[in-house]
């Protein structure tokens, strides 16, 4: 029998067995627990929840364990699981103004009511490897201040809004679309763009945002406010006729204040970009806000200068890492039928062009 195709079934089984052995690694080392991942790799868990579009730290931790720490693979596991969940309703919009903030900063005002709350941040750490963490013994952890008296903090952009200095967001009252239930059709409205950005690949959104900062559609962003904390999720239960609290989630919200010069009809005003992401994900939410702002060029009467971050089709069709990685990696699958037809075509074309084959040249 020729080599190519027989034995695929056995090969798959063996590959899976080897994969699971690789996951476990050296058995002399204790196996990592899902709880450990949930508690100690929280930022990885957050990313998996955000891009998997499913807020469940336990499942995200399990996915990270199962995927050997490959976060895109973990996100994929979560997405595939999410498909099987029945949709039994939708929550009320979360009210981030009422967030119990663990962190809240503004880069536009030195101080504002509520103050700057630095919270748990890497921002001012020195990136020096801490070798004490390498020791297996429990390292001393300084207890942080009790934050249970977290107060409601006003929004920084509201202060600009009071003066009319920043463009007002109009509440349309339209029912927001659902990217996961309807096929994305372009041009998309902002609701779908934001949904797409918040579940988009962190690296891709970061790269897009960075490109705007480097001049490919510059929009002069300031972090008006970045806040991280818990918000309650409420759902209206038809049988009850009122909404009840069904849980609490952690989110990161970024509002950027961007410049623009005004148009014939509008006096100069600041404009806004918006980012909201599951969990503590500052890089992602700031990136999202910058890209959101870049994509709003038409609505804000700006010119399309033809840069990638302004191109809705480009951004939305390429931000999803599950789609991207699937299509990229599928070229590992057999393509020998197509390649065979290419082989025949190229031989035929060369034959017609009367290029001698290498064998003939040599002889």
């Amino acid at each position: 029998m020729y080599v190519a195709v027989k034995g695929g079934e056995k090969a798959i089984d063996n590959a899976h067995a080897w994969l699971s052995e690789k996951r476990r690694g050296d058995k002399a080392i204790a196996e990592i627990g899902v709880g450990q991942i949930r508690e100690q790799l929280t930022l990885a868990v957050n990313r998996v929840m955000a891009e998997g579009s499913l807020y469940d730290p336990d499942l995200a931790s399990l996915a990270i364990k199962q995927s050997h720490g490959d976060l895109i693979e973990a996100i994929f596991l979560i997405r595939a699981y999410r498909t099987t969940l029945a949709r039994f309703g939708k929550t009320r919009p979360i009210e981030t103004t009422n967030m119990a903030c663990i962190r809240r900063i503004s880069a536009t005002f030195k101080d504002a009511p509520g103050g700057q709350i630095l919270g748990p941040t890497f921002d001012y750490t020195h990136r020096l490897l801490d070798f004490t963490l390498a020791a297996d013994s429990e390292t001393s952890v300084v207890e942080s201040q009790d934050m249970s008296d977290a107060q409601m903090l006003p929004r920084i952009t509201d202060y600009l809004n009071q003066e009319g200095l920043i463009q007002q967001e109009i509440q349309t009252g339209d029912e927001p679309g659902d990217l996961t239930r309807e096929p994305l059709q372009l041009p998309a409205q902002r609701d779908l763009r934001l949904q797409s950005l918040t579940r988009g690949d962190e690296g891709f959104i970061l790269g897009m945002a960075y490109s705007t900062q480097r001049g490919y559609g510059r929009n002069h962003p300031f972090v008006g406010e970045l806040r991280v904390g818990g918000v309650v999720v409420e759902m209206e239960i038809p049988e009850l006729g009122f909404s009840i609290e069904i849980g609490e989630i952690e989110v990161t919200e970024c509002e950027t204040v961007n410049q623009f010069t005004g148009s014939k009809s509008d006096p100069p005003q600041f404009t806004r970009g918006y980012g909201l992401v599951f969990g503590h994900s500052e890089r992602k939410s700031i990136s999202m806000a910058l890209v959101d702002r870049a994509l709003r060029w038409a609505e804000l009467g700006e010119d399309n200068v033809g840069v990638p971050a302004q191109d809705e089709e480009f951004v939305l069709y390429h931000s999803d890492n599950i789609q991207a990685t699937g299509f990229l990696e599928h070229i590992k699958l057999p393509h020998y039928v197509d390649f065979q037809s290419e082989l025949e075509l190229i031989r035929k074309l060369r034959c017609e062009a009367e290029i001698p084959s290498r064998d003939e040249e040599e002889s």
Partner: protein
């Protein structure tokens, strides 16, 4: 959780996909947007075909999966196992026994019947995509039946290479209306698309479904002076001796020696056993 709904997807989702299929059958060759779901295999591995199959299969169906014409390629096995697990239906390697056949890159050599459905996995459903990257534009082009760009491309091929330099995913026109991507089947298979079976094309990542009802007219694009030719390797199968099947070229030794064998393994096996019987 071990229990999944029949064919993995919930009934609402299946209904949504069936609606897209019916719309596709009503407008042959038109790409119907559908809310593709994340499936437990990656995009690019046939999620579109898998969703179409999931929405099409009933407990009485007999299912066959091929990839590159073969039942035994790794991804065909993986998809077949998936459906065995989530439906418990019967599966087969035999083209004639199957009621639903999911395929990647081939149409079986055995003619299909009115009782069968052929489900294609499609990577890029838009035949104009590599000529025009914007979906907003290509949809307009289809709406206006504006296919000049495609003919220009084919013409440029001829002026540059002396032939149309497309050997697979060769574009077709359906019932004189929509230009359609036949999925990356070799152009050898294009003439088979006028068939008795229903053909449904699923593109998961690109969220599109399109379809051909039985006996739909499917014409490969060409010019009068450069007619379409369904080409294949100029050999016979080294295993079963068939002269009219699509062949894979297999390198068999370090000297680059090669043999040609049917890419459709079920067809090849049937020819072999028929030859055995007649010789006995």
């Amino acid at each position: 959780m071990n229990e999944y709904n029949f064919a993995y997807l919930d009934e609402q989702t299946k209904r949504m996909i069936r609606r897209a299929i019916l719309k596709g059958l009503a407008i042959p060759g038109y790409q119907v947007p559908f809310a593709s779901r994340e499936m437990p295999m990656p995009y690019g591995w046939g999620t579109g075909g898998v969703q179409v199959s999931a929405a099409t299969l009933t407990p009485e169906d007999i299912f066959k999966v091929i990839d590159q014409g073969a039942d035994d390629t790794t991804n065909a096995i993986s998809i077949r196992k998936f459906f065995q697990k989530v439906t418990g239906i019967k599966v087969t390697d035999k083209t004639i026994d199957a009621t639903v056949i999911q395929t990647r890159h081939r149409i079986p050599e055995t003619s299909l019947t009115e009782d069968q459905i052929l489900v294609y996995q499609v990577p890029i459903p838009e035949p104009l995509r590599f000529l025009e990257p914007y979906e907003t534009e290509t949809r307009k082009m289809h709406a206006l039946e504006e296919y000049g760009l495609m003919y220009v491309k084919l013409y440029e091929d001829i002026s540059r290479h002396g032939a149309i330099a497309t050997s697979y995913a060769y574009p077709v026109k359906v019932e004189g209306r929509y230009v359609m991507d036949p999925s990356p089947i070799p152009k050898f298979d294009n003439p088979k698309m006028e068939m008795a079976a229903i053909q449904i094309f699923g593109a998961g990542r690109e969220q599109r479904i399109y379809a051909l009802p039985p006996y739909t007219q499917v014409v490969s694009l060409d010019f009068d002076d450069y007619p379409f030719e369904a080409s294949k390797a100029d050999h016979v199968c080294d295993i079963c001796g068939s002269s009219d099947t699509y062949l894979d070229e297999v390198i068999v030794d370090d000297q680059g020696g090669r043999i040609f064998v049917c890419s459709d393994t079920d067809f090849c096996a049937a020819q072999q056993s028929a030859a055995l019987e007649s010789s006995e």
